[in-house]
Amino acid sequence: MALGVIPRLEAAQLLTGAQAVAHAMRQIEPDVVPVYPITPQTPIVEEFAQMVADGRCDTEIINVESEHSAMSAAIGASVAGARVMTATASQGLALMIEVLYIAASMRCPIVMPLGNRALSGPINIHCDHSDAMLARDSGAVQIFTENGQEAYDYTLMAVRLAEDERVRLPVLVNLDGFTLTHSAEAVELLADEVARAFVGRYRPHYPLLDTRRPTTQGPFDMPDFYYEHKRQQDEALRSVLTVFPEVQHAYAEATGRNYLGYYEAYCLEDADFALVVLGSTAGTAKAVVEALREEGQRVGLLKLWLFRPFPHAAVANALRGKQAVAVMDRALSFGSWGPLYTEMAAALYGLPEAERPQLYNFTYGLGGRDVTPDQIAEAFRRIQDPRTPTQHMHYLGVRA
């Protein structure tokens, strides 16, 4: 990007993903933030609470007694007319899932970083994407991030996306538990004025606290209207396919940070064999792609930022004509293919048969199992071997 970029940035700092997200929250300065601790999200709300305690940000923190109440209070505050954020993970998301669906249906633009962690049982505090997949059909927008920098940038972008007139929906910003939330790396924050100007002021729709213009919100819907309301909600979520690139473009204009598209393509254009991945595993996969490229293998990577709504057409276009694609799922959909694989299969089925790659499903890294370069290389090896079965769940890094 243009040279003007550099003065707009603070110098790079050593920050954990949680700290980076907390700084984004400080710069956003939401009016209300209900907080409830859960590993590995806790450091986000701890860092943020300290910033509020130090007077660096004027926010009303509500120390709720559960995540169910966190999302319920978030809805109350959002409908009342306030800008609202919260954060959670795993069981916390599971507990609030009932209310997350309602937040989406009430069109509450609540931004919520999610420190991805496996769901119980057995109880486990480490990373996988089973929590995010639990919210797959909630109606919330879902963004996945690769590193602390992306988690920071997308938390800021999420506010613009959530509050867009065409969207008005909750946005979940996924960052892998521990791998991102607790690991320190160099993150470049924007200057406060730049971040604040980008986010802008919140303009509520029909605020409940406008008592001279009373509104009834969350009424009882019968078969004569429910269906239309759900269709409108689906259209709002689909509109993110239009709004997401606009927000990315605005962010690039304001900051010089280029995030253009629903996904990052890494060595993808001339690749014959591609890997599709969400979250921090992309970092490991890039190193593997580079190593294999040096050996002459034509491999590449597609890292999705946007998971909900799912950009089927764009993804199909990016993978058109590849020989084979490995879809990496860090969550199970028991009794079916992985959640990402089913989306990819739906996307690629739209391609003419001659241009449709062979598709392989790999499960990996459940419950924080280490994701090694060897596992990624193994996935690439298998999809280049014509004897490898398709329509088969390949488990990486698991004992037999």
């Binding site: 009303e60 406008d210 919100q217």
Partner: protein, 336 residues
């Protein structure tokens, strides 16, 4: 003494007659007819008295239940005040969010920040929930909100069972009552457990104001609402609101049934102000509990001669609780 503790700027005007109360309503109808609550339902009486007793802007948060379902069937609404429903168990949590939003937006306005809508100078936040949504599934959210000290009033309209789904047992259902999930049968006499004392649970949160009221004693109820919304912190009202369908009586008798609950000392009227108990209705000659039970279908089985001992046991329980309450009041009586 109480008045100065609660109203530093003087007491609000209080209607002296039902007509005065109704006149307030015709000036500014906050809750309209045309809803689909049953004939003889006690709940809309609670709502109308609450909204008429408050003379400032109000925001209502409503738990799922009869009141929510019957008053907001899209695209119509009975509410002329801002109204929010999220789910069954979270009215107190959603009200916490509304209150926090009001607090922070008011603060930011005082600091000179523009607020993009017409934010009122003051607002009373009132949450309504039935006994299912309050004693049971919403208890955690209520406890959290009381403990955090939000300035709001939670009003439980207590009809002693899950009435919206057709009379299933709740933590508020009295012992030996017939419900559809504790049915009376050859081997069963109705609910076999005690009733949860939610008013005392609220008191244990050491909030500034907790009261128990009944739709039959409307002046007492209006006075309590005005007190509740004036305290600087959370307040909780538990209001007996009989359900003719679930309790099994003539719909014309709702107010009388509620009055009998007070006059038999089954449902004492009292308030707890900063920890001090005050008795608000002292039946000098309490009626026997049977007078209340015998007019309700849900207790019909207790009137059979072989169940006489159960009636006696229930009466003794009421007597014990009443005596305990008198001891807590230590002679403090305040009747309207």
């Amino acid at each position: 003494m109480i008045a100065t503790r609660i109203y530093p700027n003087g007491e609000p005007t209080r209607p002296k007659t039902l007509k005065e109360l109704a006149d307030r309503e015709s000036r500014e109808p906050r809750f309209q007819g045309g809803h689909s609550l049953c004939a003889g339902c006690g709940v809309p009486l609670v709502v109308r008295m609450v909204l008429n007793a408050i003379d400032t802007p109000v925001v209502v948060v409503n738990a799922t239940g009869c009141l929510e379902v019957a008053t907001t069937r899209y695209p119509s609404t009975a509410w002329n005040v801002p109204w929010l429903h999220v789910a069954f168990e979270n009215a107190a949590a959603a009200a916490s969010g509304v209150e926090a939003a009001f607090r922070v937006l008011s603060r930011k306005r005082r600091q000179g920040q523009p607020i993009p809508f017409d934010l009122p100078e003051e607002v009373r936040i009132v949450a309504f929930g039935g006994d299912g949504g309050t004693y049971d599934i919403g208890l955690q959210a209520l406890s959290g909100a009381l403990e955090r000290g939000h300035r709001f009033t939670y009003i439980c309209y207590d009809n002693e069972a899950y009435m919206n789904t057709g009379n299933q047992r709740s933590g508020a259902t009295p012992p030996l009552a017939h419900t559809t999930t504790t049915p009376v049968g050859e081997q069963s006499l109705g609910k076999l457990q005690q009733r949860k004392d939610l008013t005392e649970i609220a008191v244990a949160h050491h909030v500034p104001y907790v009261a128990q009221a009944s739709i039959s004693h409307w002046q007492d109820l209006v006075r309590k609402i005005q007190r509740a919304v004036h305290v600087d912190g959370p307040s909780f009202l538990n209001v007996l609101a009989p359900c003719q369908r679930g309790w099994g009586y003539d719909p014309a008798q709702t107010v009388e049934i509620a009055r009998l609950a007070v006059e038999t000392c089954y449902w004492p009227l009292y308030e707890v102000i900063d920890g001090d108990y005050w008795l608000n209705a002292w039946p000098r000659k309490p009626l026997p509990l049977t007078e209340w039970l015998k007019v309700q279908g849900r207790f019909r089985h207790l009137l059979r001669p072989e169940n006489r001992h159960l009636l006696d046991a229930l009466q003794q329980q009421v007597n014990r609780k009443w005596e305990l309450l008198l001891r807590k009041c230590e002679g403090r009586v305040l009747e309207v």
